[in-house]
Symmetry: C2
Subunit: 332 residues, 2 copies
């Protein structure tokens, strides 16, 4: 790990806070410029890199332990969609000038908690200061058997489309965290949704069933419709999604009940981002076993549509196609 010489804090941040998180021998105790990762014959290293900016991807006032955990979880969600086993991560942090020890410690505590929970080790990275907002990047590494990564590109016409968990909680959760749902739904419902936004649940329990039965998969980060669109584009098929089958949480259904027009409201949930569920396709014969095996692994899967010849996505409600003005929720 190199350290930006912008003050003793960056060196001390590494020595005091980050080195304890780097226990694997290949991290070299963060005492080197690089990590050396031995090849694993018969396996592929699955690598994804995401960035998060305060005020864009999380609220500027969010507690930094939750921010750290969200950073790891959004990256873990990429591994989950690829059916990869979590291994380790590299971290880059640009701290706003003057970020104190208490905040840095809280950030490191969040990393420690979730890297323990999900079997990750810190492998290296960089810590610098910035005149701008807190800016984070993680490069996450996982392993699969050679050639076994689930891709976006192998959906086939006739495949069923399924999604894990519930959809729209991330989008509603951001509204809730901003205090925009007051008077619309009960406070406990809003708090639950805000928690879903702040601390997504990577669906790593789906790894085995994805490996066995999925043709394509992506995690729902940009929004279900946008991420289904990524699969459609990469696979050269059209995905038809039935909003009437969209799985929604109890708190989200409280919000839905207050909306004047259910179809477009479901469309907003399906276009919203930050759910970190998995959208996947599978041959028709696999759909029922998938649902049963995912349930046994503790994750609900719901069939919401199918792949057909064509391109892009078709969004249906009560048998009619909806034309949404925007196909994905935008942060800014």
């Amino acid at each position: 790990m190199t350290s930006e010489p912008s003050g003793a804090d960056e060196f001390e941040t590494i020595a005091r806070l980050l080195r304890p998180l780097a226990r694997a021998p290949e991290a070299l105790g963060l005492a080197d410029d690089a990590a050396a990762i031995p090849s694993r014959p018969g396996q592929d290293l699955i690598v994804s890199k995401d960035a998060m900016v305060a005020g864009v991807h999380f609220l500027a006032g969010d507690p930094l332990d939750l921010v750290a955990r969200k950073l790891l979880r959004t990256n873990l969600s990429d591994l989950a969609a690829k059916a990869a086993e979590p291994y380790g991560y590299f971290l880059a942090v640009a701290w706003p000038q003057g970020t104190g020890w208490a905040e840095r410690e809280r950030f490191a505590a969040g990393l420690a908690e979730d890297q323990g929970r999900f079997g990750l080790t810190l492998l290296g990275g960089d810590t610098v200061s910035t005149p701008g907002p807190l800016t984070l990047s993680a490069t996450i590494l996982g392993w699969t058997d050679s050639g076994a990564m689930i891709r976006r590109s192998a959906a086939r016409p006739g495949d069923r489309v399924l999604v894990s968990g519930t959809i729209g909680d991330g989008w509603l959760g951001l509204k809730a965290a901003r205090g925009e749902l007051g008077g619309i739904i009960p406070r406990e419902a809003a708090e639950w949704l805000a928690g879903r936004y702040r601390l997504p649940e990577p669906r790593l329990e789906l790894r085995e069933v994805l490996r066995a039965r999925a043709s394509a998969a992506a995690d729902v980060s940009d929004g279900l419709i946008a991420d289904a669109g990524h699969i459609a584009r990469a696979s050269g098929v059209r995905l038809r999604l039935d909003l009437g089958r969209l799985p929604v949480s109890e708190p989200a259904s409280r919000w839905l009940d207050r909306q004047p027009d259910r179809g477009p409201a479901l469309g907003a949930l399906a276009a919203g981002g930050d759910d970190y569920e998995i959208v996947l396709t599978a041959a028709p014969a696999h759909a029922r076993p998938l649902i049963a095996e995912a349930e046994a692994a503790g994750v609900a899967l719901t069939e919401i549509g199918e792949a057909v010849d064509g391109e892009g996505t078709a969004i249906l409600f009560e048998g009619r196609e909806l034309a949404l003005g925007r196909t994905g929720w935008r942060h800014s």
Copy 2:
């Protein structure tokens, strides 16, 4: 590659500007959430991650093609110090809101130029927007034979200390780029130094000789004295550096000639950062062959000190130890 849904620009940036840089099959055309990198039996993957912030690590007005090339080169410098063969990189870019196409194209052109020059491929990453300054992170990957990475931790008492190229140009180059050397040295000298700051030269030609003969190595990013200190700490030895033997460029010597006190002035060059040279240690018998073989590879190596029992660094000039107030140049 995932894309931050902060406007069509981020999707288009990937499609138009970044996809052409990702030609290796394992990048999956940036159409997936992750890259799948096949293991190479008998080899280790060497991974390093650095971050750069506008106004901290480069000047806010620097042309973005040079900024992109500096990002790759500072990361390549880590690979050079580890004697690793460059392979690929993951990129995270947080663009200031409103960054236009011309700037993004110039940035991508810089990436294209240097990834071609140094044999890299873009493998994935993330592109987002920020209300703050341009913030970049690259995760660079290289390969070595198993266990062959040159580490910081294997210097032994009696080893010689050598450094590549010339030292202090990065620190003086930043002054020059800021217009702080006007009237002190000729304009052409200042421009040459500013070029060294803006576009460092990763010493990849040293890979073979490092592999064959070095006991430890680090790249000079934080400053020669600080980076020698990293080797000393990781190896459990003391490094004695003789400032009288410091290799300095002709433009830097013009600056030196104008300084009232040569020892501390040399100390400032040795404490300054951003040289991206290599500081290394080697057993005494290897020192002369190292210099000859490096010269054959086109890189000057200069012996500047030795490793002894103890810890930390000792900075000598004309036989006496200098006590520097600061052991490393600070960006901020």
